[in-house]
Symmetry: C2
Subunit: 407 residues, 2 copies
């Protein structure tokens, strides 16, 4: 049921709008420009900027001559150290940590293998300890940290902050991630799906002009985050993006992992390794559930591919055919004009993939006139951790017209 | 870039909120209840209801005793005849017309075969003439008609009101549907994709509790409309929902229509007829591009299926297997908890399909704990035409928090 407008929220909303506009202008923005871009009156802009200055969220920078006539204008810039957020990405192979400032810049970064022998409680302790170490090492004032965002594999219960039973994390079932991390760190904790965090990270890493895109994450699993009309979509239970089972090749052989002929069977790291083993391209006998061992074989295969080994290149090209078929399903269904790819596997194979993917996808598009952009993540390999941190900044700082309506 | 709040829009927004609340309460709602459901003050509710009464949009109805103590309350009801909208659905086989009142009820209905021999201009004339006849026959005051909504097959340019080159409408290319129909009818015209209109129609036909669903349209084509978080999604170019090419059966035979093994090849009417011909279940030699002839064979096959003919039932069951595989792709990708099916083909095969579909879809869902509802359209066979009309009501009458932000 629709709700009436909430007058009491106007001031707070306009403050988030102005702060957002200042934050997005990397080199600063004048009050006159703020009036133009936000549509607010000069008086309102002046009052709110004064408040933001008082709260230390923004600073006044250079005076610049913006036109031939008229007096120079003082630029207002975000104070990057005014607020921070921490992001953690829990991948079956790797834990990635970032601390970002309110300008979205990574101030601190850490990475370690996900402890495999430990029960979930042990992993939670490892995460809490690393967060603590990162806070100390960075020298950031704890009171400026808005919270801790956690990107985790699905399925999960976002509202309760529970990991339900992620297929790749053996023995994890209904792990109370939010409550445990909050108890140990004292921080406000948000838990979200890895692909949703990655899509959010990508939105933050590149401003504007990315209103409709799918973020395809290639790591130990394959998943999709979807941004439509500038909104990160979440689905009925916040578990959007399960694309691994999409059938992409009816004639594929059974690899013994994932569904025969599926997107996952075409482009998971394990799938590449099994293909390499079957074709005699690697002598490694690593098992497909040894994430670290698989990772090492992938490193070797990519190294040889870029050295010109045709068999290794063929492995990547074959994966590209399957990936293109899966991406075409998403683009046709959702009418997207941009595909962004990222994740640990992507960062190894991206240069070859970007050569071949667009020409493989385009003939499969139903709306043939569409301009489709295919590109790698602007946020880089740590996009999910950065996105987890961005979820926290978004939660506290982004303007939402919905707050103008009564709760 | 975010924009500031627009104070001048508050009054208009609150009026749409109240009218929406009254419209959705089928039997009327008291001012006291309106305060509760909208969060507005009693004074604001009273003022706006007075304005709506003056404009003839609502009427006062019965006085009812809503609690043991306290005086009886006067119910406010929408005046159904205060506003109307017309909807047209252009299907390759059939043109469907509805005139609905502001309560969403169908007041007038018409249907005719899509003229096949005529160029697009001839079809536009047929539509304009039928709209005119319907307006006269219904006796509706023309000044109460908010506009004409057109649901058309994609791809289309919604902003310009152009049909680009729908594959099933031979010879149609860049048809200026909105401009032509506006010139002939004098009405405000909105053009949108058939599946988007159908999803909108379904939203209107059932209030509430349908926040995330896919509407799968089965007619001369197969397509999907998506509703997420109560919003009808549209995609980058308003051409969302192309699902016909999704691979659902790697082992399928080539039918000579659609992509081998695709969702379209599994459940289009032409596909059912070709399968029937190949299996000797029908003696008809109708060509698959004869929409009317195909339709007659489908009618015969369904009649025999419901009479107990196992070969005819098997045709529907096989289509259900393909359809289930396609729907599982959508549910897994978008994390939906509801699948709604409709369209002319669906209405013939629904009773058998509803028996078998849920059990075919569920084992394919990745988030296994999800409660998935599979059901037929509440809006019925004419859902796309009703949705086209509902697009007009939505456009003029639905509250949107985004209007509270400066343009």
């Amino acid at each position: 049921m629709a709700r009436g407008a909430n007058l009491t929220r106007l001031g707070g909303f306009n403050q988030t709008v102005l702060f957002d506009a200042i934050r997005r202008s990397h080199d600063g923005i004048s009050r006159v420009e703020l009036v133009t871009v936000t549509g607010l009156t000069a008086q309102t802009v002046s009052n709110i900027v004064r408040r933001l200055l008082d709260e230390g969220l923004v600073v006044e920078g250079d005076r610049v001559q913006t036109s031939a006539r008229g007096k120079p204008r003082t630029l207002v810039q975000v104070q990057p150290s005014a607020r921070h957020a921490i992001g953690v990405h829990i991948d079956p192979a790797t834990l990635t940590f970032v601390l970002i400032d309110v300008a979205g810049q990574v101030r601190h970064y850490a990475r370690q293998s996900t402890p495999r022998a430990q029960p979930p409680e042990g992993v939670v302790t490892v995460i809490a300890d690393q967060v603590e170490r990162m806070l100390e090492a960075s020298g950031v004032d704890r009171s400026t940290v808005l919270g801790l965002g956690v990107a985790a594999p699905g399925p999960l219960d976002v509202l309760e902050g529970l990991l339900l039973r992620p297929p790749q994390l053996v023995g994890w079932e209904r792990v109370r991630l939010r409550a445990e991390l909050h108890a140990r760190s004292g921080l406000h904790v948000l838990v979200d799906k890895d692909v949703t965090a990655a899509a959010t990270g990508e939105q933050w890493a590149r401003d504007g002009a990315r209103r409709n895109f799918v973020f395809c994450y290639l790591g130990s699993g394959v998943g999709a985050g979807v941004v439509m009309n500038d909104e990160v979509l979440r689905g009925a239970t916040n578990n959007i993006g399960e694309i691994g089972n999409i059938l992409v090749d009816g004639d594929a052989a059974d690899l013994g992992i994932a569904r025969r002929g599926s997107l996952a069977a075409a482009c998971l790291p394990q799938a590449l390794v099994i293909q390499a083993q079957r074709r005699g391209v690697t002598t490694s006998t690593v098992s497909s559930d040894d994430f670290v061992g698989v990772d090492e074989v992938i490193t070797d295969l990519c190294h040889r591919a870029y050295g010109g080994d045709p068999d290794c290149l063929r492995l990547i090209d074959d994966a590209a055919v399957g990936l293109a078929a899966g991406l075409a399903v998403l683009v046709n269904l959702l009418d997207l004009d941009r595909v962004v790819l990222g994740g640990p596997l992507w960062s190894r194979i991206s240069s070859r993939m970007l050569e071949v993917l667009p020409a493989l996808i385009r003939p499969q598009l139903v709306v043939a006139s569409r301009d489709l952009t295919v590109e790698g993540s602007a946020a880089g390999e740590h996009v999910a951790a950065q996105g987890a941190a961005a979820l926290v900044l978004d939660h506290f700082l982004s303007p939402r017209p919905s707050v103008l309506v009564m709760e």
